[in-house]
Amino acid sequence: MADQQHNEQGQTEAASKGGPVITRRGFLKGASAGAVTAAVAPAILINHAETAEAQETEGASTATIRLNINGQSHTVDVEARTTLSTVLRDHLEITGAKIVCDRGECGACTVMMDDKLVFSCMTLAMDAQGKDIQTVESLSNGDDLHPIQEAFIEKDALMCGFCTPGFVMAVKALLDKNPNPTLDEVKRGVSGNICRCGTYPRVFEAALAAAQTMRNGG
């Protein structure tokens, strides 16, 4: 269980540095990292804070991990507490997934991880190792859009657009599993996402229209 040792070492390292004051969120992230990364496996390189860069990013340790995002492999230095959303947005500038609540209440940061929807603000970067991560950016190629995106445009299923990438991903996950949903199933499918502008009726329309297009081979 070398990986587990690595991980425990990382935890100890953080603690021995005195660390920051424990916050609810920091605690949650730390605890979760300890519990979950052990099971994940890929090698984690601990940076012992000797390098200038490591000192710059934290008094405690960081680890270099590899993440597979939208079919590309990325190497990033993260702390145990670093979330997937932070890696996507702040490290890699893949900013489709948004931060709204930063605690798994609103769905704006939704991405797919091994074909499962996850809130990237509640997913530790370390736990995303070895997974296939798909963000909204993966759905289009230049102006060549996914039928869901085309339907969102056509039905005006967006206003300010801040929630839109999360809704697009939620609809994608729904239609991948259920290509012919009812209106009620669409509502349930996007019920983890919040829109303050109130575009829901048109998100529903867009999802149903996209489902039809996709069933027709579009």
Binding site: G59, I94, M159, P165, R202
Partner: protein, 740 residues
Amino acid sequence: MQQKMKKVTIEIEENGVPKQIEIEVPDTGEGSWGDVSAMQYVNQRRTRVDAMAKVTGRAKFTYDIKLPGMLYGRILRTAHPRVRVKRIDAAKAAALAGVKAVLLPNDAPNIFTREGRYAGQEVAAVAAVTMDIAEDAIQLIEVEYDILPFVVDEAAARDPSAVRVHDDRGNVTEPQVREQGDVTVGFEAADVTVEASYRTQVHTHSPLETHGSIAQWEGDQLTVWASTQSIFGFRDELAGYFEMPETKVRVITEHMGGGFGAKLGGAKREGVICALLARKTGVPVKLMLNRKEEHLTTGNRPSSIQNVKLGATNDGKLVAYERYNYGTPGINGSAGVPGAPYLYDVPNWKIEQVSIYTNGGPAAALRAPGHPQLAFSMESAMDELADKLNIDPLDMRQMNDSHEVRRKMVDMGAEKIGWKSRRRLKPDTGPERIKRGMGMGSCRWGGGGGRTKAYCIINPDGSVEVRCGTQDIGTGTRTLIHMIAGEELGLNPLDINVRIGDTSFPYSGGSGGSTTCASVSPAIKSTTLIAKMTLFEAVAPKFGVEASALEAKDGKVFVRNDPSKSMTWQQATAQLQDGPIEINGKWVPGYSDSGVPGTQFAEVEVDTETGVVKVLKVVAVHNSGLVINPLTWESQINGGVLMGVGYALYENRIMDPATGYMVNANLEDYRLVGAMEVPEIEILSYDEPERGTIGIGEPPIIPTAAAIANAIYNACGARVRALPMTPDKVLAALAETREG
């Protein structure tokens, strides 16, 4: 048909030299859209021009921008509702690896507080290399407070012996009293009166993109990317704070994740702190608030307690209205609602209102300030009175409403929802658990436009750019500029380059109060019209006609009465010997108006065992004069109705009276409408294109809560007089009905 023309003097630039010239433009009164039915783009359903960027994740919002070397800012806030800062020690924070700057109260005495009056005021700030480190750093700042007595409940704060929120004044503001006729005589003439107290909650804006900005200094030039509803307001506050010319500050808002009123005004404290941190560190700093801060400090719709008395004669004519209302705007602002009876003609009335300061975050304009509160009390009281008189509440409204257009709109909505055919006449008090009912409520709003300038350039190669310093806050402003310019110039709207959201463009006011469409549209219409006529002046000699005989459509310029005489747009613009046409135009009267009525009908289902209310359907009838883009107009109405459903049933800022904290400053316990709560929404437009364009942001949130409250009563007899109408209140009202 010879079009009537008029001469106008415009300023153009020729070889870099400003020069005044006189041109002829169509004389259609002050300005008129002309025959809307003949238009190709205006009044047509057009998808958003920025939709592609938003559905692909490519749109960069302020929150998404990362500049080279950028730091992250965080603010330390007071942890108690009423404090005096005794000692503050940031040594540990400053020593933390990755922390680049710490700002303490002495660094910006007007921004940071030493006398905190609500939990969440700014005490200190840091900038660090990552967001997590910035968060760690503010946790390491040691603050010693004198913790002082406070009051967060508006009823408790009214008591003369209550703790004072401000040292120099009482908690209750000077009463605002307005009256007309003689209310005592009025009530003597009334055959029937209702007297009731209606309450509405504190409502937070909760835009999904929180407040925040990125500030970058280059010498004495400050550039800021901001999530704001008013780039110029933001700029002016920064210029004022730093005592620098407005020309040295540039604010950019390319895409904006919602505001609903909270992002009007200026840079606010967080914007100034961000610029201070950037100045101190010499590198760009990004400072976005988190969700908790957004709830605590960025504004809210004040609460209201409205004690209402309404009297009518037996035939349903209103004769007297009296209201005393108060509410809390927190530490600052006004909890006032419109100072007249809402919507209906009452000969005798008297209104007295006060605001009550409490130790809570300050109020800010929230979508139709004051109106949803008043619509809830007025329209509930109208129904209660109609019920006593045994008159259909719709008929009662119609007989007391002198607004002819609103009466027609009420008829439209009633027919659509089946008011006369499907509505139960009396609440269902039978044994079935699930009850259905219907209710209605109406509204009015002002809106109107002005204060907007625009720029249009037509280049010799035919390319056209339009610039306007407005901002698209999610309402579709960018799209309507494309549409209007395309219509005027006879070009595909997508072929016009439109640039907005930058204070280096011509001035436009803040996007609030349903004024953006009515401000921006006339400016674009007028500016592109003058640009077009200037082009016509240049090419008319080629056709041997007057400029006024020309028309532009489908990418061609041609003689109106002889379309065979024609050239392509590019052939026309190639005639520009002196370089491009550049026009600086502005808002002119005639293309917009203000003042709109509206009405909504709701159908609900009430579970009489659990008290849960489900809104099944809302019919919303609104009026924006000339609707520029019906597709995005409808989206705005969906949004207003759904925010209204949230206000009616779910949203509520809860302050703990014992600790003075907001206990639900998140999006789990502060409940916004989610997908499962969305009713069917049917939208009807009452068009009055001859009035020009009028905004639609505010009206659709106003009457929704009232319509739902009246529908709940109609369903089961429970009269709920407090928002949000949560299951406990519905069950309590039901119990009252059964006892009474």
